[in-house]
């Protein structure tokens, strides 16, 4: 890697950090708008004015917003995620196991969907214009155009209601065997895979088609190269960067999809935790969950961008 590329990558990382700062400010500002006095909510309607004022001082609620923002940010950076309002537990303890089960779900989905999506995307691009390509394209447009909950409810209807192969709801904490694990994970994973595979297939197909339209592909054809050689030696090495970029970007859709999927399947992940926190107006918990999501999202799109930079052969 030469200096120029290193500069580009470092530049991209700095942008990511700045973005994270802006994002955290936005998250903080949004949750600041939550109606009602937190101290009042915590102490209940019966609390005396003195008690509320005392708690406000203790929680530094009377400080200017910018000071509280700085304090919160410093806390996050040092690993102090704060305390939940709802049940006074450290947020780190609440989030830990939930985060793990969400990661399991995401990992299972990625393992399942990435190979399938890459295969379908690349073959559709190579067989552009054929019936196969048109079917794949139509199906992916269909899946992208419907809400995630429709994919989820359809999956339940098909696999749980009509075929009765799988249970409709997931309880990841009651898993004792591999078979059970499969049954518990199956429905959320199928739903999520459908949603992100559709994105990935579209992006992969577009990336490969763009490469196939270049003059050096025509040149390879005019050298007498076979279709197989053209794809493997000329198209794919050049499409690799855009494809990996597409994978990283598609995986970031997991974050949006997971909110709906964990809710509908009652899956005890971090998204479900956050939706519940919104219901109980648990401010610190909402903030922290949001930051976890934004961090994950930012991480994925930054990785995607860096891969795009590194994969440009002109920069080698």
């Amino acid at each position: 890697m030469n200096r120029h590329v290193l500069m580009l990558v470092v530049n991209r990382l700095i942008i990511a950090v700045i973005t994270l700062l802006i994002v955290s400010f936005t998250v903080f500002a949004a949750t600041e708008m939550l109606p009602g006095d937190v101290a009042q909510i915590l102490l209940g309607q019966a609390a005396t004015a003195e008690a509320v004022a005392g708690l406000r001082t203790a929680m530094h609620l009377d400080d200017p917003a910018i000071v509280r923002f700085a304090r919160w940010l410093a806390g996050l950076a040092s690993g102090d995620l704060g305390t939940s309002y709802a049940n006074n537990l450290p947020i780190a303890d609440l989030i830990g196991p939930r985060f793990l089960s969400s990661m399991k779900l995401a990992a299972a989905t990625a393992v399942f969907s990435v190979p399938i999506a890459l295969f379908l995307g690349i073959t559709a691009a190579i067989l552009r214009g054929t019936l196969f390509d048109r079917v794949v394209t139509a199906v992916t447009i269909g899946v992208i155009s419907v809400p995630e909950f429709m994919v989820a409810t359809s999956a339940v209807l098909i696999f749980a209601v009509y075929l009765q192969w799988l249970p409709a709801l997931a309880f990841a904490n009651e898993v004792h065997s591999f078979g059970e694990l499969l049954r518990v994970f199956a429905m959320p994973v199928i739903t999520l895979s459908f949603v992100i595979s559709a994105q990935m297939i579209r992006m992969t197909r577009a990336a490969v088609i763009e490469t196939l339209n270049t003059p050096y592909i025509e040149m390879a054809l005019l050298k007498g190269a076979s279709r197989r050689r053209i794809v493997l030696k000329h198209a794919l090495p050049n499409a690799l960067g855009p494809i990996v970029n597409a994978v990283a970007l598609s995986l970031s859709y997991l974050l949006g999809g997971v909110i709906i999927v964990e809710t509908i399947f009652n899956y005890p992940g971090i998204a479900k935790l956050m939706v519940d926190a919104v219901a109980t107006r648990d401010l610190p918990l909402i903030q922290t969950c949001s930051m976890v999501f934004c961090l994950g999202y930012l991480l994925l799109i930054t990785i995607a961008d860096i891969i795009a930079i590194l994969s440009n052969p002109r920069l080698r």
């Binding site: 942008i15 802006i22 419907v146 359809s154 209807l157 974050l255 909110i259 709906i260 949001s290 934004c294």
Partner: protein
């Protein structure tokens, strides 16, 4: 219908069947949204059936919901919320996105840099999460929903319009106008806007689909349109209990959403093409 199908060609446009089907479905739902109160067979709040999650029947074409209300009426009225809110939000998002995008492209410099960085950061918040936090923070009402959805999709529209405008801005005809001494407002309105209008409209359609999906998702989480009103997403939420029975009340609102969003996609991918046949003349 035949007349309609022929007329684009007479105007020098080619419009294929898939695009026309898409357009018809969109027009259908738009009409439903406007005239819903005149079309519904039963008042939407009335419990008209003793049975809940009733099947499709001659009396209740789309069955009944979890309280025994007529689904058809609720779907027709739901169109108003889904189409209306999404349309308002997409109009707002695209207007601000395109206006800002063109200004940034023409002005350049620090204005462009700061605006781009800020909106990119806004774009780095997953849309559902953003909706979740904001709606939870300020409560859900129609104006809040429209504004939130608009804010979420403004950065994307900005990015798209800016990229197009930057391309046009580097064209020689804009340079000629600059060298002539034209002011920024003329450059934006007269040289750039007419040339990005087509793609911007297609992008508006695509963004409309995203907004419909996000609105439905929020309503499904209980953060969108609030009872007693219900858009299509909220209808799914209300009736999710009917899922184990395969009740039509669960799937029909989803199908309504899908029919709308897929039609918009079909239309965008098959827009009327101006026939440019240079060999003819």
């Amino acid at each position: 219908m035949a007349r309609f199908a022929l007329s684009p060609r007479r105007l020098g446009y080619r419009f294929n069947a898939v695009g026309m089907i898409g357009l018809s479905v969109i027009v259908f739902w738009a009409t439903v949204a406007v005239f819903a109160p005149l079309l519904i067979p039963y008042p939407i709040g009335d419990i008209v059936d003793y049975d809940y999650f009733g099947p499709m029947s001659a009396q209740f074409l789309l069955g009944t919901d979890y309280l025994g209300r007529d689904m058809l009426s609720r779907i027709l009225m739901g169109a108003r919320y889904t189409v209306g809110i999404s349309l308002a939000a997409v109009a707002l998002a695209c207007f601000s996105g395109v206006a800002l995008g063109m200004s940034a492209a023409v002005a350049g410099g620090w204005f462009d840099a700061i605006l781009s960085r800020f909106l990119d950061a806004l774009n780095s918040i997953p849309s559902k999460l953003f909706g979740l936090v904001v709606v939870a923070a300020v409560g859900s009402s129609m104006p809040v929903l429209v504004l939130t959805l608009a804010v979420i999709y403004t950065p994307g529209s900005y990015r798209f319009a800016r990229a197009l405008a930057v391309n046009i801005n580097s064209m020689d005809f804009v340079t000629v106008a600059r060298a002539r001494g034209e002011k920024t407002l003329y450059l934006i309105g007269s040289e750039i806007l007419p040339n990005i209008l087509g793609p911007v409209l297609a992008d508006l359609g695509l963004r409309f689909v995203f907004i419909v999906l996000l609105l439905s998702g929020l309503s499904f989480l209980g953060l969108g349109v609030q009872p007693p009103n219900a858009d299509w997403g909220a209808l799914v939420r209300e009736n999710i209990g009917g899922l184990p029975f395969g009740a039509p009340a669960v799937m029909v609102p989803s199908l309504a959403i899908a029919s709308l969003t897929i039609s918009v996609n079909m239309l965008i991918d098959n827009l009327p093409v101006k026939i440019r046949d240079r060999s003819n003349g």
